[in-house]
């Protein structure tokens, strides 16, 4: 199979990317080149017990979980305000959600740090 421009547009939509037509054309062509190389994986004879053959990334270590009481540094103190485009009283500001406001919300810019 080959990847069409429509495929690239659909994938870009899933990935929340706007692509201009020139980029869409170029990516379709590049993706086909890369996938032609990837096709060689089809030659590989997979073991019959292949259900257990998915991923063995950590040599000698089982899955472990972080202590749930161990919080990342600095996230309670308002420190994200330094990096967030808009931040007020401990919250990230987002544009209004249509499901809640009944209309397309707009980015608030009357308060908080200006967009950078």
């Amino acid at each position: 199979m080959s990847v069409t421009k429509d495929d690239v547009r659909r994938i870009a939509d899933l990935a929340r990317l706007n692509l201009d037509p020139g980029t869409t054309d170029r990516l379709a062509e590049e993706l086909n080149g890369i996938l032609a190389h990837v096709k060689t994986l089809g030659e590989v004879e997979l073991p019959t017990e292949s259900r257990d053959a998915v991923g063995e990334p950590v040599p000698g270590e089982g899955s472990v979980f972080r202590d749930p009481d161990l919080h990342p540094d600095g996230l309670e103190s308002g420190a994200p305000a330094r990096g967030a485009p808009e931040w007020r009283e401990g919250f990230f500001l987002v544009p209004g959600l249509p499901a809640l406001t009944g209309e397309e919300g707009r980015v608030s810019s009357d308060d908080g740090e200006a967009s950078r």
Binding site: L14, A15, L19, V64, P85
Partner: protein, 473 residues
């Protein structure tokens, strides 16, 4: 550690000042002007070392840090416009450990955006030049760190290695680069690219420099669930162990027609040096090696497409102006913030994970990955102590040569991606230059056997040193 001073730029220090001020003066000198190397994206503003005073294995040592490792004092941009000026609210564990060991951060180094690239040309802040030949790339994605060590700014540096991003630039710049076992070093504070492959690694002017920094960086961290609960042996003390009686496998799949003839000759000479040092060389086969690059270029973009979903213009980074709905903010911010290679990989990864293609691409690549792991396990079970290969099929290529050909760029990683897929440690160490350009040999070892691996690298380094050392460029 080797004194990082000396060479052009040293005059700016007027002979005085601390190791930090000397390193800063040298950093400014090598990066200055349009023909500068562009190693650093930001430099320390500290007037004094800032590290813990007193002893410590890195007392007074200046260290360069790749710009995807979070620091409190300096911005963390990941080489991306998306994070221009971003100041992290927390510090990476490795940076804390460097400071506690007496070292200090000189600056943050240039890189391919989010680690995606093999030449440092994908940085939003312009490419880094190779100090051995400024018309060529330094390799990537940790090109700034490799170049900073090669240019004598620092004796050691931190990088990250997802598919060869420490080892390949180390080879291109004529320095030592270590990718430890997956789980050996905490990734708390490392901006994620492909989480099953990413590992923080170290650069050194010598094997000892890289080993000392690794010894400081390694160890379990409760803040990183993937860091292993294992004690850390002394990597430096093991450097005298040599290779006498060690079985070193030479995998035939790494000696392909893709190998530059000059690199092949240099590699053959390195192999003979190992034999002279007492190693037992054995021809071995890792039959799934040829599938490593296609496997990597499905799995790494798939993981990246998920990891980079967090860059949405809401919580950090740049928010596109003039957008309407939340969804439009996401789309506009991501489209303006990401560079071409990052977009390419997000599209490729999203495709590989999408309904209808997941089984054919992502799941198949995961299964092939397990076969690549088994190849290595079989070799170790057959009594092979280490593997030795070239690090890269070619020396550093000219700036611009592969920018428009993503597949050619991806194939630069052909000898390095296997270690990430299998989670095993690997190190690149300089071997004979090819037409004046640095060249690297790579040792691979079983999981957690960094001591054995670094002893091999040190034995080879000493073999060259006993003949007067290598002269690059």
């Amino acid at each position: 550690m080797e004194d990082p001073g000396g060479g052009p730029g040293n005059e700016q220090t007027n002979g005085g000042g601390s190791g930090l001020s000397r390193a800063l003066a040298r950093a400014r000198a090598v990066d200055e002007g349009p023909e500068g190397l562009n190693c650093f994206l930001s430099l320390s503003q500290a007037l004094d070392p800032g590290g813990e005073e007193g002893g410590g294995p890195l007392a007074g040592v200046p260290v360069a840090v790749k710009d995807n490792i979070c620091t409190l004092e300096l911005p963390t941009t990941c080489g991306s416009r998306f994070l221009e000026g971003y100041e992290s609210p927390f510090q990476a564990t490795v940076v804390r450990k460097v400071r506690e060991a007496g070292g200090f951060v000189v600056g943050k180094t240039n890189m391919d955006e989010f680690g995606m690239g093999s030449s440092t040309e994908n940085s939003a802040y312009g490419p880094t030049r190779n100090p051995r030949d400024p018309s060529r790339v330094p390799g990537g994605s940790s090109g700034g760190s490799a170049a900073a060590v090669a240019a004598g700014v620092v004796p050691c540096a931190l990088g990250s290695d997802t598919g060869g991003s420490v080892r390949q630039p180390a080879a291109f710049c004529g320095v030592v680069g270590v990718k430890p076992t997956y789980g050996r070093v905490s990734r708390y504070g490392l901006v994620a690219f492909a989480s099953s492959l990413d590992q923080i690694g170290t650069f050194g002017a010598t094997v000892e420099d890289a080993a000392r920094l690794l010894e400081v960086a390694a160890g379990h961290d409760p803040r990183d669930a993937t860091s292993a609960r294992r004690s850390v042996p002394s990597f430096v003390d093991a450097l005298d162990d040599g290779v006498k009686g060690k079985v070193i496998g030479i995998p035939r799949e790494y000696l392909t027609e893709a190998l530059d003839p000059g690199v092949a000759t240099s590699f053959a000479q390195a192999r003979e040096r190992l034999r002279e040092a007492g190693a037992i060389l054995r021809d071995v086969s890792l039959p799934h090696t040829r599938y490593a690059v296609p496997t990597y270029y499905i799995l790494a973009p798939a993981e990246a497409s998920s990891n980079l979903a967090r860059f949405d213009g809401i919580r950090y980074g740049v928010r596109a102006l003039g957008s309407g709905s939340t969804r439009e903010v996401y789309e506009a911010s991501r489209s303006q913030g990401f560079g071409a290679e990052v977009v390419r990989r997000i599209i490729l990864g999203t495709f590989a994970l999408s309904a209808g293609y997941h089984d054919e691409y992502y799941e198949r690549a995961q299964k092939v990955r397990s076969l690549i792991c088994r190849d290595f396990r079989r070799i170790w079970a057959e009594g092979v102590d280490l593997l030795f290969t070239p690090t890269s099929p070619t020396p550093a290529f000219p700036l611009g040569e592969r920018v428009r050909d993503p597949l050619a760029m991806y194939l630069s990683d052909i000898f390095t991606v296997t270690a990430n897929l299998a989670g095993i440690p690997a190190v690149s160490v300089p071997i004979d230059p090819v037409q004046g350009l640095p060249c690297g040999g790579q040792f691979l070892a079983p999981p957690w056997e960094e001591t054995r691996m670094l002893a091999g690298a040190a034995a080879l380094e000493r073999s060259y040193a006993s003949d007067g050392g290598l002269s690059h460029g």
